[in-house]
């Protein structure tokens, strides 16, 4: 069972130093543009797999391995967030 992008607030803060749940992501597969808070998030311990809530394709994966964080943005063609 999936969660949603709200749960990514903490993990993505480590990488981006900003709240990314209000950022919009454009899906490379279907072109939908939605805030990351609405994405479907699957537990893939020690990380997360994030899927488009419209078409279900992978937007990004996020992994913590030891003292490294890695994000794979294969399914995101644009990220946009409110300017600070």
């Amino acid at each position: 069972m999936h969660l949603d992008g709200n749960v990514l607030a903490g993990p993505l803060l480590e990488l981006f130093r900003e709240d990314m749940t209000t950022a919009t992501a454009r899906c490379a597969s279907c072109g939908d543009v939605s805030v990351l808070a609405t994405a479907m998030v699957y537990d893939a311990a020690p990380g997360w797999c994030v899927r488009c809530h419209v078409c279900g394709d992978v937007l990004l994966t996020f992994v913590r391995a030891g003292d490294r964080l890695r994000i794979d943005l294969r399914g995101v063609t644009a990220l946009e967030l409110p300017a600070g």
């Binding site: 069972m1 999936h2 969660l3 949603d4 992008g5 709200n6 749960v7 607030a9 903490g10 803060l13 709240d19 749940t21 209000t22 805030v35 808070a37 609405t38 537990d43």
Partner: protein, 225 residues
């Protein structure tokens, strides 16, 4: 790091936990914290918990429901005591939030312990003197399973949907689209839905069927914790 100030029973399986975080920057109603537990062997587990508190106060309130096979919630509910230290990060999340500047009517819909961030919104709404209508639909197993029961008892803008048992005059059973339609504010209201994934998915799709604009519906799901 936070220090547990006190805990108290909310339901047979849930506890409120008050935590003092001296350098807390304040939070908006609806935000959450990530709590990280570290075992003696170094194994770590992190889970997100919504805050029932909001505003500048450095004393935070969490309310946690124990999931029997959870990794973090049994410790928080059964073992945590006043004076214990807790590693947490926050406030987190800027999307599933309500602030008094919003003038739209607001419908809150909770499934089980999903009521926690919505209670933060109810409290913030009351504290701000906002004139925007706000009401809560609370789906919960039984009256004993209600979080914040005493506090909510004093409010008249709440509809309960008991799924297992309840007062003699109550309709018992899972929420349906028809019961949802009868209980929520009209189309055009902002809607916040928080609960287990299945509950949130059902409610959100019914709301859209009933004509609510998907862009006005904000959802937050929780799972194993």
């Amino acid at each position: 790091m936070g220090t547990v100030a006190s805990t108290s029973a909310e339901t047979p399986s849930g506890r409120s936990i008050w935590i003092d975080v001296p350098d807390w920057a304040g939070n908006i109603a609806g935000q959450h914290v990530d709590v990280r537990l570290t075992a003696p062997d170094g194994y770590q587990a992190t889970r997100s918990y919504s805050l029932a508190s909001s505003g500048p106060s450095p004393r935070l309130q969490l309310a946690v429901d124990k999931l029997p096979d959870g990794e973090v919630s049994p410790y928080l509910v059964d073992d945590l005591r006043a004076g214990d230290m807790l590693e947490l990060r926050g406030p987190l999340g800027g999307w599933f939030v309500w602030s008094p500047s919003v003038e739209q009517p607001v419908q809150l819909i909770a499934g089980g312990s999903g009521v926690v961030p919505l209670v933060a919104m109810i409290r913030a709404h009351a504290a701000s003197g906002s004139t925007a209508p706000m009401q809560l639909l609370y789906s919960v197993r039984t009256p004993d399973d209600r979080f914040f029961a005493d506090e909510l008892e004093k409010l008249d803008n709440i509809t309960y949907a008991y799924t297992r048992s309840g007062p003699p005059d109550a309709t018992i059973g899972r929420l349906t689209k028809e019961r949802l339609a009868a209980a929520v504010l009209p189309v055009g209201s902002a809607v916040f839905v928080c609960g287990p994934t299945g509950f949130v998915e059902a409610v959100a799709s019914w709301l859209v069927d009933l004509g609510h604009d998907a862009s006005l519906i904000k959802t937050e799901r929780f799972g194993g914790a």
